[in-house]
Subunit: 421 residues, 2 copies
């Protein structure tokens, strides 16, 4: 029973007209999408009646720090340096490998329950997050996070050695080079990251122009903006995926667009930390590839890509016009655009694509009436409309249940209590 | 069995320290809140084990147009005049009493399922919405909506006659005078509304300074801002509850604050329609009483006060500082501040208050870990964390089930299809 047949699934509703398809899944891919696929033609496959479900692309989270789930609600509503110095860094300093494993499991559980099957992770103790992703059946691009200002020299060298060994990739888990930012990585080490990424064909992921202070400090230190600095060091290329990008100058936008790099926006985090409002209309006009992420739980405080998508769509309109970033485009920013930039052949419900999708209940009051499926999903729904989640052709959540979820919650609660008392 | 005992309920978690109470409900009120209330002392009451639940105030929606649920997703992402002329107004023109009843039922269902027990409603065919509120067990302030530009003269007079008769109020449903706005009500009729509200002790509810165009047009026509116009007509008093208040001048803020009037903000709608960002920090600094509402489903597109609360809290920070509108204050804007301004003795879990509350599951990954209950609720949760809802001392949702919900959804879907085909 390796195949799944999603029978009579709603794949679109537009102007009140519903399109249904049978969707055959096997070998981790969408094998066939047609008006009718007979169960007997697909050799004992599991048939799921989808007459009451929409099948939509699952979410791909373009930027997070998964294991920060343990810090949910630990420190809010305070100024950045107090937040970091008095709360976040002292807490993080205590985290062991086991804590990271527990925290990552809570993060992956939360992602699955809100329809996310991939995340790009910039954090520490990466092997333990990788282990959890493998076990729980979703995908991730895991960062070898580089900072010579936040970590001791031997840890820095161990990170580069890990990249050189390059043995941990798998079907669903990939590595990327993640220099933390221009303010926590020296020019020399930044250059080394950029060179390794280019030579070894890695994605390069970093925080970029998140705050005005970052930009001002960079200009003071290097005489140019963070974007220009990346360009000067040879890092502004199409393998660059930059998180935040709140404070781009017009010139930054132009050279960033020309490079083919991607900006991953994190509107909730930018608002909550008072960093600024991502200028979606201007970034789109400049021709920059845009994707979405949630950032870490300590500055959001969840990993809910549907909520992030609504924030992005609405902020785009208030800084542009009511026509900016329509629902379909907002959905793409949270699905296919992320998958594409991270090199994953997924993000749409189409034959040949990796079989990642969610089953959304159409019998939920948020989805009624259904004049337009994508509008309801982006603007009206919330995560409880998601009944089931499929990643790589397998159910990772079925009828709202994820294997082992009770134990994951108990362990996480106990671990957080241990760390704070 | 008229009493309910919520046993061992979590009423606060702060810095990881949990406070539990037994909460006795009877006669529609919180009778006793203590460390221990014995079941045998409360005469065969229904005992609900709340060891895994937080008991939090229910939501009060300070501004909406409930029956617009049928328009969910019907028209999005377009410029205002096209949206109104080609979609919203032609659709609304077709609505019968029966449609309004069906649409109101869908709205109340959605509100209950997302923890809301009160709404302030500005719409048409008001008797049918009132009937639904009475039946479904929640509260509302229902507008006698006045506009001499949107409705024919006989309907206008019928509205004033309805107010004069004033027979429809009940324990949970009250009336208010709701002139639609300065751009849809003539000066003469506006003055009449203001006089009736003052003479008969009604709340006066209106749209105010929602868009820059409204302000500019008002200045052109009357030589002053909408706030000044209300002042000039004698309507700027503490019985005024104004929705939106996006485009207040500094002087508007000062006189509005001095009057004791309340501003009900609707950030999702303001963003989605590209009207502007509510200036929460400045309004707070001016000393204006602030509450929250969702506006109608056609410009949001849901009635979810938790989501609205997160939008408000995050927008407050990005336009102020990370310290602006902390989680506890955002929660008040969606609960006690709304109740207070609408004259309802509710909105907090306290002895003597009306027994409105929600049971939030602490065994949901969004609520784990629980360093701070209110932070998790405002920033991390979503509506599926709500297990049960109590209004006026009675369960209106229990274990996520609302009586009759399947039929409500079926009728609403059929009605919307009928109206669009």
């Amino acid at each position: 029973m390796n195949k799944i047949l999603l029978k009579s699934a709603v794949v679109d509703v537009c102007c009140g007209n519903t399109t249904r398809k049978d969707i055959l899944i096997g070998n981790g891919k969408f094998l066939k999408i047609a008006d009718k696929v007979l169960a007997e033609d697909c050799d004992g496959c599991e048939v799921v009646d989808c007459s009451d479900f929409a099948v939509l692309p699952a979410f791909y989270n373009g930027h997070t720090h998964a294991a920060m789930t343990l810090l949910r609600g630990y420190a809010d509503d305070m100024e950045l340096s107090r937040w970091l110095n008095e709360y976040i860094w002292p807490f993080e300093a205590k985290l062991t490998d086991e804590d990271i494993e527990i925290a990552s499991r809570l993060a992956v559980l939360e992602m699955i329950k809100s329809g996310t099957v991939f995340f790009s992770d910039m954090y520490w103790h990466r092997e333990w997050t990788m282990k959890v992703v493998e076990e729980m059946g979703i995908r991730a691009t895991i960062g070898v996070t580089i900072s010579d200002m936040l970590t001791p020299p031997d840890e820095l060298e161990e990170n580069f050695a890990f990249l050189a060994a390059h043995t941990k990739e798998s079907e669903r888990v990939h590595l990327a080079v993640m220099p933390h930012s221009v303010y926590t990585v020296s020019e020399k080490v930044l250059r080394r990251c950029i060179e390794i990424a280019r030579a070894e064909n890695y994605i390069l992921h970093t925080h970029l122009s998140e705050t005005q202070k970052e930009v001002d400090d960079c200009i003071k230190q290097y005489g140019c903006t963070p974007v220009r600095l990346f360009e000067r060091l040879g890092g502004l290329r199409d393998n660059l995926i930059a998180a935040h990008c709140v404070h781009f100058t017009d010139e930054d936008m132009k050279i960033f667009a020309d490079s083919g790099a991607t900006a991953v926006l994190n509107p909730c985090s930018n608002l909550k930390l008072s960093s600024g409002i991502p200028q979606i209309q201007k970034l789109l006009e400049a021709g920059i590839k845009l994707a979405l992420g949630t950032d870490g739980v300590s500055s959001n405080n969840n990993l809910d890509m549907r909520e992030e998508m609504k924030f992005a769509a609405l902020l785009a309109k208030v800084c542009g016009s009511a026509e900016t970033l329509p629902a379909h485009d907002a959905l793409k920013m949270a699905t296919s655009k992320v998958a594409e930039t991270y090199g994953i052949n997924a993000g749409t419900i189409a034959e040949g694509k990796l079989a990642d999708c969610i089953l959304v209940s159409l019998n939920d009051e948020r989805m009624v009436p259904c004049h337009d499926l994508v509008s309801n999903w982006v603007y009206a729904a919330d995560s409880r409309c998601i009944d089931s989640v499929i990643c790589n052709g397998k159910f990772v959540m079925k009828n709202r249940h994820v294997d082992g979820e009770e134990d994951i919650l108990k362990e996480a609660a106990a671990c957080a209590a241990r760390l704070t008392h």
